[in-house]
């Protein structure tokens, strides 16, 4: 297996979580540094409760983790959650780099003044 097995419900949660632009934005931000829920709420034109709900969806999808620190709830990216996706993209990137190299190779076979290939 390329990635750790996720059960179907886990996969559903992951992609439902990433289907929303606000939640994607939250993931981007908290992956770079931690935010309090109230700090996040200040960034969006929506209620604290709505942002809290988005964070809860992300938490269930294992994309972020949340901990209480004093009176604040601190949200940070769950790097393991995004790691699988990153690793897959890395592999896919390498596949496309090699495809591009093979394309260049094919294109280089033909002299420039005689490059039409009969269909």
């Amino acid at each position: 297996m390329v990635v750790d097995q996720l059960d179907d419900a886990g996969i559903d949660r992951l992609f439902q979580a990433l289907a929303d632009p606000t939640r994607r934005d939250i993931v981007r931000r908290v992956t770079l540094g931690e935010y309090s829920v109230s700090g996040l709420a200040a960034l969006y034109a929506m209620s604290f409760a709505a942002v809290q709900k988005h964070v809860a969806v992300l938490e269930r999808a294992t994309l972020v983790s949340k901990e209480r620190r004093g009176r604040e709830q601190i949200v940070r990216g769950n790097h393991e959650g995004l790691q699988n996706v990153r690793r897959l993209l890395d592999e896919y990137e390498e596949i496309w780099r090699q495809r591009a190299a093979r394309i260049a190779d094919i294109l280089a076979e033909e002299p420039k003044n005689n490059r039409r290939v009969p269909q």
């Binding site: 992609f15 996706v85 496309w96 591009a100 093979r102 260049a104 094919i106 294109l107």
Partner: protein, 165 residues
């Protein structure tokens, strides 16, 4: 270097590759349009792709399989959703069962290919968007993951063989 840049967006499950080729746009278009040329670069060395169907018209379908060194033949399908010759190509893609029928639960990916004329050279941009991590994972398991590792060692000999051809 052929590949100019790649951009990965884990949150959006997308990858963008930009490459430049020393050939004009019409010529680069053919590597997508002609299935015999497409077969030569789609799969890595040791994992050749065979396109059994390649209806290169808007709404047309393509059916292909990879042949693994173990002799397995994982199958995939394409649907050409937009063709603007020779500058833009959009393709839906996914997995197929042994009969070639799409495996719906594996999801659908999307590719957007654009070719830009750079005074006789061509810049090709390929945006790949995956519907799910599961789909992306299965795509790699079509043999390309192992093939990719082997390819690093094999690419030199392939290049040398072509240079001597």
């Amino acid at each position: 270097m052929t590949v100019i840049s790649t951009t990965k967006n884990p949150e959006a499950l997308s990858l963008t590759l930009t490459a430049e080729f020393d050939a004009d746009v019409e010529r680069v278009w053919q590597i997508w349009e002609d299935p015999r040329q497409l077969e030569r670069w789609w799969g890595p060395p040791g994992y050749p792709a065979t396109f059994e169907k390649h209806e290169f018209t808007p709404g047309g379908k393509a059916a292909y399989y990879m042949t693994t060194p173990e002799g397995e033949k994982p199958r995939g399908w394409w649907r050409f959703t937009r063709i603007e010759r020779p500058h833009r190509l959009e393709i839906d893609d996914g997995f197929a069962d042994e009969s070639g029928a799409p495996v719906e639960e594996m999801g659908t990916g999307h590719m957007v290919v654009t070719l830009e004329d750079l005074a006789g050279r061509t810049r090709m941009t390929v945006l790949s968007i995956f519907e799910s991590e599961e789909q992306m994972s299965a795509m790699l398991e079509m043999g390309m993951e192992e093939g990719m590792k082997q390819a690093a060692g094999q690419i030199d000999s392939v290049l040398a063989a072509h240079a001597n051809a």
